[in-house]
Amino acid sequence: MASKLPKSPLEHSAGGAGAAAESPGAPPRGLLRWLLTTNHKEIGTLYLVFSLSMFFIGGIFALVVRLELFQPGLQFVEPEFFNQMTTLHGLIMVFAAVMPAFTGLANWMIPLQIGAPDMALPRLNNFSFWLLPVAFTLLLATLLMPGGGPNFGWTFYAPLSTTYAPPSTTFFILGMHLAGISSILGAINIIATILNLRAPGMRMMDMPLFVWTWLITAFLLIAVMPVLAGVITMMLLDINFGTSFFNAAGGGDPVLFQHLFWFFGHPEVYIMILPAFGIVSAIIPTFARKPLFGYASMVYATASIAILSFLVWAHHMFVVGLPLVAELFFMYTTMLIAVPTGVKVFNWITTLFQGSISFETPMLFALAFVVLFTIGGFSGLMLAIAPADFQYHDTYFVVAHFHYVLVPGAIFSIMAAVYYWLPKWTGHYPSERLGRWHFWLSVIGVNLTFFPMHFSGLAGMPRRIPDYALQFADFNLVSSLGAFLFGFSQLLFVVVIVKCVRGGEKAPAKAWEGAQDLEWSVPSPAPLHTFETPPHVTPQPHP
């Protein structure tokens, strides 16, 4: 599972800034170099490659799910294994694909965007990466254990995940702890870097929005990952040490688990979307050749989301039996938070208005993000209406909502970021032709997969079922075809990356004509050590 590391993309002319390597001897070569690296660029690459391989593993699980749901009846897998596939698909995509990808982008770009030589704590940076392969090898190993892997959904509600869980659940908990610690250490590193290592002249207010959103995300991580650690520790105590936090027999309460999980869960979904806002807010102004509209509003709204996201968690629990006052409270707060979040879309669209727009691949993905994320936002608005949620909850309508927000949301923004910054990382432009193919196939695949789910959900198809009544057959057939199209079109993405690493059209330091931020002042490909001497940043009015 060391995944296919491409020929090291960072072979730079030794003549780059400062050939003297830190350790007295020549820097270690080959695998050892990747194991011991403390350089934020190499660690960024490690995160991204790990995330891409996990994206494919999670994708395979999704294709197994869609294969079984291709048509009524059980043809390929047993319900027990189907539940393991849905659970691990959720866990791998959330914790192993999306979060590490954003962390990788943060590792690569934050030091470059704020003029810092490296992250504040380089060794901690290396450690927090290498925790991830260990954590997820352990999580994937549970599939081979007697009793099978986790089969209780990525939200692992008690008592299904405690009293009625397979014996491998303890390893699931250990794996999640390691992944949690990795995220926490990463967040500490990023906060310390942003707050202390900015180049002189680059004040907090001049930081690009990607750095701002990541700072807010890091604060959310610090506040919320310990709660997840707390919940899974309580699960561990319930399973192995006979306590009854979530076991009604001993005075516990399964609904307490849901409160704790979603108190972590909702800020977690903001953790997965705020960096995407940062990326899109960097890409759209570049290709519209026009400054971002309402930069101040974006910064302030993102900051307020950091706090408001803690007040809405129980809209995931409208049908669990909350009292009326609680349901009303969470309906109102969910509606309130929808405003600062949704309004951002208007800022991006007004940035486009009267711009001068060109449609390279990063811009295509960013525009698809705006359109499809907004559709996910609308279904989110519908779900906020508590009485209607009684009909939507735990159906495929919810599955359609969060996939629209996450796949064209988080994953398209990651792909846009990769296409946008590949020239800086590798010194070559990614191939536009293949990029376009990858884009259009992905957009068609995403919509073909998830749009029919709105209808199967509304018509009454519950979530996480391995087989369904005949009235949902057509929708599932289309979804499954779309899933396979989307899944295989991601191989194109790998082809584009590998080709771009090996060769392709040379890219100048400022690869995109409209680009403004600091990273474009560094030569492409970015040498291993940049900003050894802090750059001179003139505090000009916001670009």
Partner: protein, 186 residues
Amino acid sequence: MSPVQRTVSRTLLVLVAMFAFAFALVPLYDVFCRVTGLNGKVDTTAQALVHEGVDESRYVTVQLVTRSGAGLPWRLEVEQRQLRMHPGQTVEVGFTFVNQGAAEQWGRAVPSVTPSQANRHLRKLSCFCFEEQRLAAGERLALPLVFQLDRDLPAEIHTVTLVYTLYPVASGEIARRAPEAQGGEA
């Protein structure tokens, strides 16, 4: 202490605080449930009788339901499954535990009340659900439930359902020993 160390130490402080906060939520949740009657959680301590007179004008139906969970060969019988009372009135109902198993065992009746708004207005003076019970094989143990409903029970509540579910108690968890010498045909 360099600025980086200052930031890191402050962040670590917040981390530890949030981890402790997650565990503090458990007792906080119990308090929150008792105050708002969320999720039908009921008091686990006897409460004093309140003399506020009986509201003769309306009746409230109280349904009593007993259920048995997995792993406990006991049965919980109740004298009458349904009774009508006035808010403010105090009522006593006889319950009988029967251990149908072949061995002595500890068990507990976990209460739950619905609608949850009624929970705040339900005052239990004595209830077997306050502690674990110990029954020898085949033993029958009659225990009363004495409770009172507030006069100011909201008008729209006409029916209150009290559900008791029997669960086994692992010997290690015995919080308080049941009062001794209550066995036999009490």
